[in-house]
Amino acid sequence: MLRRRLDLVLSVLLVLMMVWVVWEARDWPFRTRLFPWMLGIPVLALTLLQLGAAIRNVAGARRAELAAGAAAASAPARRAAPPPAAPIDDPDAAAVPATVDPRAARARGLAIVGWLLVFFAAIWLLGFRWGTPLTGLVFLRYYAGESWRASVIVVLSMYAFFLLLEAGLSVPLPAGVIPQALGIGQLDVGPLSALRQALLGR
């Protein structure tokens, strides 16, 4: 039921988005407006059809729930009630193995979304070369409970990968807000330059 309701919410949002897409184009010159309207109006019609389908789905599920409730109330309570089954449309049931508790799986899902945001912030603040290995170390050692050995190997591989990208393939990567604010570019540029000087003489 939760999934059907969410589907309904998404369908409403899509209709609103398409109304905005069409409305926003109203004051544009003809040639700018032509394509957004040529596409936008049929897509708006499609989203309205989808909204209708989503409403029918929710209403159908509600009717089925009411009918099931009425049947259960009228049936004699001769035998013990069966254990509650997972909802038919619970995606977690399909996405994770049966041995994993769905509630725990959902908590892990939310946690990893949080980590996605933490990695994003770390890259923004410290750049790729420092942000991802440091956050990776915290994730591996303190959140995932990996051994120091495994954590350090993964983190060093990540650092080496970014070195290869920047020094070897000249892929420009951002320094991050903090090193930039401090005026030091990449945090490790000093030691790296010294190392490059020692090894390559340039």
Binding site: R3, L6, D7, L10, L14, M18, V21, E24, A25, W28, P29, R31, T32, F35, P36, M38, L39, G40, P42, V43, L46, T47, L49, Q50, A53, P91, D92, A95, V96, P97, V100, A105, R106, R108, G109, I112, V113, W115, L116, L117, F119, F120, I123, F128, T132, T135, G136, F139, L140, A144, E146, A150, V154, M158, L165, L169, S170, V171, L173, P174
Partner: protein
């Protein structure tokens, strides 16, 4: 002609052409397998190195690199669910579920062998097409290109799985997202919220990486296991995957031809070819129930098409100097650096050079597939690593893929945003491939509509080739429904 064909082959095996080609393959292998660094970036980075080379050496190096990126890009798509190249994204749809079911070896074997078949078909089509391609491409103008792009959009229906309406809406949203940015006609901002970074539009790479990779990362952590949920011992499926290529040779060959043909059309290329060929694989299969859950035919189609496109894209580049895609535009730069003039010269005085390009594509793919098959066991073992060890690496690759597309944090944020949208789409059973197809084809449809209207007004819709292509598009869109309705009526009629 035959002399030039043989001379082209012999050229490839001379020194320093062969070592340079192998070096190009090594670079292409790394570029393909690492998400975020696309072949156009690699080609652009390597272009300065070809100044000192002879034309045959330069093209062996550059084409050797380019022609293997899509092959190795498939490996990352299958093992991690992150497209190694933007043209390898369609391989994820069935390849990654196969890896999750412990069939990584089979999926990789199928992807590699179909890539080889595709590359060979594309290369020899290039060789065969050279004398006859001129009238074909000259007969196409912008109205026909518009009709072809529209034909591509109709494949949305086939990519929608069980829910055609949701698929059509997702495809429509993809087309709408493609409108974000500066209007190509008047230069007016459309749906940019005043952000200069959005003037160029929404990048395809961050959206594809986000839509497909982030839901995989979340699901992987929710399960708390490795990518492969079950083990099959010593990766026994590789030979099965190779055999699958020949069991389904029809699909492999047809998708190779689709890839070659789309590669010929300027502006389309591998990003479109992979999805159209995937849609063809779905549509032409009698049993479609396993597509999206790990059907090997869903690996064979895109695997073949994204490799055959290289040969196809070279046809207009060589014959007319019209680059079929960004990589070909950079390659055209290499032509100019070396004073090689595309056009009739490439079919007469420089014919051995043209044929050496054909052979480079073939030999580079044979070498790559052989290397991959040798180390496949080690590659596939990555899918048995614990989720915790992979998560930081995958998150890094996703953000890197997003960032390098436009060198901006906004693009990185876009990858994250579309990752969450992708998760919601998976949760609510919305198909993701139609959205990508709409996004890819949107700018093409708009461009060709305007050029056609300017040249012919609405008369462009009545050109014979346009009418023919639009009829095919209508058949693609409505035939399955008509067939189902017909079957239903027949059942009713038989039941009396």
């Amino acid at each position: 002609m035959l002399e030039a064909f043989v001379a082209g082959l012999l050229n490839v095996f001379t020194v320093p052409v062969l070592p340079l080609m192998l070096l190009g393959i090594a670079v292409g292998f790394a570029v393909g397998i690492l998400p975020g660094i696309g072949s156009p970036v690699a080609m652009a980075l390597m272009l300065p190195f070809v100044f000192g080379m002879k034309p045959t050496e330069a093209f062996a190096f550059l084409l050797g690199m380019y022609s293997v990126t899509s092959t190795t890009g498939d490996i990352t798509s299958i093992l991690f669910g992150v497209p190694g190249e933007s043209i390898s994204a369609a391989t994820i749809v069935d390849g990654h579920p196969m890896a999750k079911h412990g069939e990584a070896g089979r999926a990789l074997g199928a992807a590699l062998m179909s890539s080889l078949v595709g590359a060979v078909v594309g290369a020899f089509t290039l060789a065969a097409a050279i004398p006859i391609v001129t009238p074909l491409v000259l007969s196409f103008a912008s109205p026909e290109f518009f009709a072809l792009a529209l034909l591509g959009i109709t494949f949305v229906a086939a990519l929608s799985g069980g829910n055609r309406l949701k698929g059509l809406v997702a495809g429509g949203i993809g087309l709408v997202l493609a409108m974000v940015g500066l209007d190509p006609q008047e230069g007016i901002e459309r749906y940019t919220f005043g952000q200069v970074a959005l003037w160029e539009g929404l990048g395809l790479v961050p959206i594809v990486v986000g839509l497909f990779a982030i839901p995989e990362i979340i699901e992987l952590w929710m399960k708390g296991t490795s990518i492969a949920e079950t083990r099959i011992g010593k990766l026994g499926g590789v030979w099965q995957g190779i055999k699958d290529t020949f069991i389904h040779l029809g699909i492999t060959f047809r998708c190779s031809m689709i890839g070659t043909f789309i590669g010929i059309i300027p502006g389309l290329g591998g990003s479109v070819a992979q999805w159209v060929s995937y849609a063809h694989a779905v549509q032409s299969s009698p049993d479609q129930s396993r597509f999206g859950q790990g059907d090997v035919r869903g690996v064979l189609g895109p695997g073949a098409a994204n490799n055959s496109g290289a040969g196809g894209a070279l046809i207009p580049t060589i014959a007319f100097g019209v680059p079929g895609n960004l990589v070909m535009a950079i390659l055209l730069g290499a032509f100019i650096i070396h004073g090689v003039q595309p056009g009739p010269d490439m079919l007469t005085t420089n014919l051995p050079l043209t044929f050496s390009m054909v052979w480079v594509i073939v030999v580079a793919n044979i070498v790559t597939v052989a290397i991959c098959l040798l180390f496949l066991n080690h590659l596939a073992k990555i899918t048995y690593l614990r989720a915790a060890l992979l998560i930081p690496i995958l998150i890094t690759l996703v953000y890197l893929g997003g960032y390098v597309d436009a060198n901006s944090f906004l693009a990185m944020g876009l990858a994250l945003l579309f990752g969450l949208i992708g998760m919601l789409m998976v949760y609510l059973d919305w198909p993701r491939p139609p959205l990508v197809l709409g996004l890819v084809l949107g700018p093409l449809v708009e461009r060709y509509v305007f050029i056609s209207y300017r040249l012919y007004e609405f008369g462009f819709l009545l050109r014979p080739l346009v009418v023919l292509i639009l009829l095919i598009a209508a058949a693609v869109l409505f035939l399955p429904s008509l067939q189902r309705t017909g079957a239903k009526w027949r059942r009713v009629w038989r039941a009396g």
